[in-house]
Amino acid sequence: MQRSLLLTAVFLVLGYGFWVSPDLKEIAAGIALFLFGMMSLESGFKAFTGGALEIVLRRSTDRLWKSVAFGLGSTTLMQSSTLVSLITISFVSAEMISLAAGIGIIMGANLGTTTGAWLIAGLGLRVDIAAYAMPMLVFGVILLLNRSRELKGVGYLLLGIGFLFLGIAYMKEGFDALQEGFDLSAYAVPGLAGLLLFTAIGMAVTVIMQSSHATLLVIIAALAAGQVTYDNALALAIGANLGSAFTTALGGLTANLGGKRLAVAHVLFNVMTAAVAIALIDQMVWAVDWISDLIGIAEDDFLLKLALFHTLFNLLGVMLLVPFVKQLERALIRYVHFVPPPAEQPRFLFPEALKTPATAVAAVRNEVAHLYDNAHVLISHGLSLRRRVIDSDASLSDAVRSTRRIMPLDVDDVYEKKIKSLYNAIVDFIGNVQDREIPQQWTDRLYSLQQASRDIVEAVKAMKHLHKNLSRFGVSPNPPVREHYDALRVQIAKLLREIRELRTEEPGAITSLSLDSLKLSLEKTSRERLDSINRMVRERRIPPHIATSLMNDEAYAYRLGEKLVGAAHVLLFSDEPADRIAEELLALDDREIERMATGSEQSGKTAREAR
């Protein structure tokens, strides 16, 4: 809701701006093209990842200087510190490189971004860069039409550079035209207040555009057109650096502990660099003037001076931090901890329950029921159905048919929090019980309860696989595919509902025997759906790659049902010996179920065996 309001507000403000000022339109188009260019560059480099980039990364990070050099080189090449930082986070997360090596790369990447400032200030605004963009765009598109992944990658790279150049040209023209209308530099704020204000503006602009490169382009173009003063441009550049850490921090949020630590290191590094630059701004300006004089940059060439300032303060940050990388790594490991989301705690497994075999078995049984309840909710959500729909008398077919989108669900996360933690506790508790000498009948009960827990876990895992394809094809516009997935969802939902109803009844032979009808239904519907898939393939109503997905999901659904029925069987099993004997003698075995499913006395393969 907040996101859509923000988007609407951005559209309205930009729309009004474009209506009022055609120059703003040109500047905004320049930024948009520049950002699109960066995205194309990223896509281009991604085409080469999964091979060369990873190998180079691994080999070039065994020493700190190598890591810094790698960060510098790769960012200079890719012109995107964001991409380098995010890849580094993923490598640190996967523990393929150390945290210290990651910090080295981040420092190098910060230095690498300064090459962008040099390119824009030294080349971009001095030559007709748009003229170079055109052939790149043409060649890029031609290469993009190729089938080869590598050629496509090169196409994206050319398109990326082309759009970057075109964006720079548009920005330059926009600011030049704006200069004739009114003077933004009239709003310049001198002194420390101006320094802090423009640092904040630079940071905000970078956070919005998610690219310090684009911000630098805006700063340099505005400076070239005289729309900002040199002093304020320096502050904006400091802010751009701070803002880029924000993008990495966002990437780090979704990473694991290593990635989070690296993101913290990036923020610390950039904040420290910015603080030093602000504190020593006068000395930095003096150093820029002195070096400019030394290397022959004209006194009034503020564009190159800005690029030099950008390089100097990043270099200063690197020099200050390099001696303390190991200490920083140690501090991060010591102080940055991953606070795991609260995992579900067992409700019934307490040491007191260990006193007698009967209480222990009762506790385990209740905990397995708790585990089943959690799985029930997870599977309901995995089917994109609310629990209250499953638990009501509402038509499941209608609920499934009316699904417009598959509910996003991180099955792994829920599994860890709600299933695995309880399963661990159950296995541990059973181990404790078995350490004490208990009669065989109780050991058998515990074994079957442990088996039931395992069945529940297996059912959840089947749901995990199923959910992947449900997300892709569950609301497919292709009617036969949609119908198949709808039928599959209805079947599992019905199973959940029926088991839930049986669990509200008294445990006993009759309740337990009712599960046979669920087994029969599972076998029959599975066979029918497999026949239906084969028919659809024969009639060319679905392509083979979708047919195989359907078949795989059919197998997952069958497995899920089978495991749930298995677990329910243990939970519904009566402790009364007579009930147990009666149930064992009267329950239908797999062959009997299968014979009923085929409607024939001839024994063929069961649906499970057919898979």
């Binding site: 032979a509 009666a582 009267l586 009923m596």
Partner: protein, 100 residues
């Protein structure tokens, strides 16, 4: 359950003490009685339900309950037969002893 396993369980069951057997036979009869009631209710539901899909489901449940009842009745018969067979040789031995 595999047939062999079932037969093994049945064999174990047959070897048990006669009184225990009687109790267990009573348990099977009890379950059969409940199954019969369940079958009757399912039939009633089936007659009253016009929904094709639900009828299909009820039909499946009915088939299963019926199959379980048949299986149960068969077992009761087997147990009875077995008990008769066990008691017949015993009776023959008794007769021999009386003759002597």
């Amino acid at each position: 359950m595999k047939t062999k396993k079932l037969l093994a369980k049945l064999a174990n069951f047959m070897d048990k003490d006669r009184n225990v057997q009687s109790d267990e036979l009573a348990a099977i009869r009890e379950v059969l009685k409940k199954l019969k009631t369940k079958e009757r209710k399912l039939r009633e539901k089936l007659e009253d339900n016009p929904d094709e899909e639900q009828r299909k489901e009820l039909q499946g449940k009915l088939e299963v309950v019926h199959a379980q009842r048949i299986k149960g009745l068969d077992r009761v018969m087997e147990i009875r037969e077995s008990r008769k067979e066990k008691s017949a040789p015993a009776a023959a031995t008794d007769e021999k002893i009386t003759e002597e």
